[in-house]
Amino acid sequence: MLGGARDWLAGLGLGEFGATVVLGVALIMGFLTFNVLFLIWLERKVSAHIQRRLGPMEVGPHGSLQTVADMVKLLGKQILTPVATDKFVYILAPVLVFVPTLCLASLIPISGAEAFAELPYGLVVLIALSGISVLAIFMAGWASNNKYAVLGGMRSVSQVIAYEIPILLAALSVVMIAQSMNLREIVMAQARGVPFILLQPVAGVLFFIGITAETNRAPFDIPEAESELVGGFHTEYSGMRFAMFFFAEYTNMLVLGALGATLFLGGWLGPWLPGPVWLLLKAYAVVFVMIWMRWTFPRLRFDQLMSFAWKLLIPVALVNLVITAFAVGGGR
């Protein structure tokens, strides 16, 4: 079906390459839009059930169209631009938050044969690109010309920098075992053996904590700690621009969840069901745990957050890496 669509597009004068690009972007955008709607709904439902409520029930069956309604509301809202902003940066920031996430989504192999973009060093590129959105978040905070926003931005930057290191180190220990930085080969290595979560439980936990912080989710949601910072870096944003941040956050959750599934849970591998379905199931399982955590734990204080990363996670990750290196090296 996809092939047919591509041929049709190519016939419109786009050429093979152009058709692939257009089709890929359209597919990813479409799916991600659906995903955000679904995730917001899921978050509301899960939080409701954890608190023994029902959550949205009215719009659509079990409230499934509630977020669509919310989206329509946000679209209809007036887009405000505060007076003293750095206008260009202010407008650019929400877009720039979203675009890297989109690129990330295209890098994850969705089945044994397909990925939208396949690179030999997919993992490095993925982590490199995720660094860009940090800059974008800071741009948002800075351009708003609002002290809460700047504080939120700064916090976000320090937090993401601190937690990127354990993510990287945890991923590296997986790379050591898989002997490749290509995401597909990492999954193939798991197909030959067991999912890496069994070989690298510590790295798995570190990675999970890291992506929770990377997506600014509770208990690490310091950058938007509403009780102290109003809304953090997106305080001054409204309407569709605000929705972009929301969009990016939930997309990021899914993408990093999928990355976690790829690195630790065996990616698309699984019996009976087709690969992409398995990948999605695993990614959503990761996301579910993140949501579950959000509605369980209170927010950390900022200094606790930083010392947790620098004094606990990074040393543990380093030790884990060294042990892995010896184990891998000793096995050869």
Partner: protein, 151 residues
């Protein structure tokens, strides 16, 4: 070594926390879908209403004003009329002001004919101030005593 213990205890407590919320996740929600399902309020005492006795098919308010006197909020206003050829009065108006009634139930206790009782209505709503004053006799229509159908 304390650091190891702290990490262990911390991790354990986090897992316990997740366990608590996880258990709640699978329990039945306590929410009621209100407009679609109505709660059971049989144990609940709402604003008062006049009882209908099966043997007469109507209430038995004799406009004795016992309730008017005892009411701490002075929210009951009764008018009565003696039917022809009867010793007992019959109420012609039993106005209850919901906006001041405190549901204390003294009127129910004091009623000599036991014709006052708690209703089970809970979703009353009104849009004007005069609407808060309701005549409890309204559902009964014509009084059979006054029209002479009963004596």
């Amino acid at each position: 070594m304390t650091i190891v213990r702290r990490v262990w205890v911390g991790a354990k407590s986090l897992l316990i926390g997740l366990g608590v919320t996880g258990r709640h996740f699978f329990r039945k929600p306590v929410t009621l879908q209100y407009p679609h399902e109505k709660p059971d309020v049989s144990h609940w005492g709402g604003p008062i209403e006049l009882k209908t006795f099966p043997e007469t098919g109507t209430h038995d308010c004799i406009a004795c004003n016992a309730c008017t006197r005892i009411c701490p909020s002075e929210c009951i206003d009764i008018e009565g009329k003696r039917p022809e050829g009867s010793k007992k009065m019959r109420a012609t108006k039993f106005a209850l002001d919901f906006s001041t009634c405190s549901l204390c139930g003294l009127c129910v206790d004091v009623c000599p004919t036991d014709t006052l009782q708690y209703s089970q209505r809970y979703d009353e709503s009104m849009y004007t101030r005069p609407a808060t004053v309701n005549d409890l006799l309204k559902p009964f229509g014509e009084d059979p005593y006054l029209t002479g159908k009963l004596t």
